[in-house]
Symmetry: C2
Subunit: 312 residues, 2 copies
């Protein structure tokens, strides 16, 4: 059922995919029933019908974008809201993305301790286990401390998979605890960043970056630059592009001189492009996959024009 | 498929259940395939067979403990590790517990922002949605700040459900970020506690406590007392009893003078009691449900003897 696990470290696979595609765009798979193109709206809103619609829609997004970008990021919550049927759809979507040659970053923001953390890692990372979802990388929450991350790191290493630890999130209230200053000096997020950089150094592949990276929102440009410097060996997963308000200049500080070191997620502004101008006028709901492709190409062009991504 | 949602606030239902049972024990449903009683070990380790074994085992634990305790706490990770089949088993287990009259605290430690957080809340809280898992309460992670908790609070209010926010966790490394002192004074966990108390006050039912509570580990007794005082209107969900090393005296500071205000979770030392002395000798694997019952009664007796729970 699952594709064999790669033995090439995640960090090397990500770098190779970014170089091959000449861009770092991650298409976020955040299906919402009300926003699906009209032709894909299910007749009833049962879990089974909604899950089938999510499967069709997300596989369609993958088909539209697979030749353009290195990775997709399914947002687990939207599938989880549909219960077991949603998880079956998600498993199918992940398998479809892997068959299309895309890396899959499962955005689940999991975090727990000991054997519980190991169970979450087992669920989401790699596909050597016959039971789980088979992602290439997983987002995790650091609030429970280093020993809560260790089981994730161990499983990731065994399966040549990756992790992105929440460091500085893109939401307006993200600073409430993350920006608290310890003794008037380093913030909580810098303490988390120090742990991530340590784990990144310990998990380096054949290249510069490690398999443990960080989530750093695009909506705080100054802190993105600060955190790029604080975690020189960590891949950054940067959300907030597009619908959350950030653009190419806001994420420029995330990249190194070669255009590597960061991947930038865009969910709604790509997958629901059919509903916004200019794509709604050019394509409309019926040609929604063309809208996905055009919006993706637009974002790639913006990043290539405004950042070191142009040097890839 | 699902039981109708109660319109009585979670905090009131929890207080009533604790008073009725005269104890605050939460039985943690943490199934692990290697630790199941021999007769329940599946012949093969496929996801389907393992999920069926988890369903049988957890429903058996519920049958053994339902007359004794107010609530169960399924640990979502162990089901999640089995993929879609695991989630179907979990949905069945939750429905079985609700039919048995138990409150269900889904231990999923979710945390995200905006509509994503709303999707998680939709999945786990209440059963007015036909699609989700139908828990009475959910554990959530505060790292993303107040605006990440608001969607959970809103959905919880709509469905008369509850939340337990991670404040101070029971693991050895829990202090790495939680104990950082802001300007040499209040710790990160006290900042989180202040938010929880605010949300608790805003969500009070007809009694003293609110629908938003806190997870505070039993393994740090001094901090449990500190946090009981800092969050006078918050139910505390206290893990760490039993296999993690804490006993009745360690959790005593969590209760108010009436024996309310805290519920204490015990997972492995109850559900796998058949494998440890004295229960392994008295009952053994074949009579594992009697071992569950005896271990639960023992924990209840300890709490009644050593804490204000005896006054219930």
């Amino acid at each position: 059922m699952t594709t064999p696990t790669s033995s090439v470290p995640f960090s090397d696979r990500l770098a190779a995919a970014v170089r091959r595609c000449r861009n770092p765009v991650v298409v976020g798979l955040d299906p919402r029933i009300e926003q699906l193109p009209a032709g894909l709206q299910p007749a009833d809103r049962s879990a089974t019908a909604s899950a089938a619609a999510y499967r069709t829609f997300c596989c369609g997004v993958i088909d539209a974008a697979a030749a353009l970008v290195p990775a997709v990021k399914p947002q687990v919550a939207f599938f989880e809201a549909l219960g077991p049927a949603g998880f079956q759809a998600l498993a199918d979507v992940i398998a479809h993305a892997r068959r299309a040659g895309l890396l899959v970053i499962a955005d689940a923001k999991r975090g727990d301790i000991g054997s519980t953390a190991e169970a979450y890692a087992d669920a989401w990372l790699g596909s050597s286990a016959p039971t789980g979802f088979g992602g290439d990388a997983l987002t995790v929450n650091p609030y429970l401390g280093h020993d809560s991350l260790e089981p994730f790191v161990t499983v990731a290493r065994e399966r040549a998979a990756g992790l992105f630890v929440l460091v500085k999130t893109s939401n307006p209230g993200g600073g409430q605890f993350q920006d608290l200053a310890i003794n008037g000096a380093e913030t909580v997020y810098r303490h988390v960043a120090a742990l991530v950089e340590h784990l990144a150094l310990e998990s380096r592949g054949s290249g510069h970056y490690g398999d443990v990276g960080a989530v750093v929102g695009a909506t705080y440009a100054a802190q993105l630059a600060e955190l790029r410097a604080a975690m020189p060996h960590s891949w950054l997963l940067v959300p907030g592009y597009g619908s959350q308000g950030a653009g190419a200049r806001d994420v420029a500080a995330g990249f190194d001189a070669e255009g590597l070191g960061a991947v930038v997620n865009n969910s709604r502004a790509i997958i629901f492009a059919h509903a916004r101008k200019p794509y709604s006028e050019t394509f409309g709901a019926a040609r929604w996959q063309e809208a996905v492709r055009a919006a993706t190409e637009q974002m790639i062009a913006e990043l290539q024009a405004e950042t070191t991504v142009g040097r890839l």
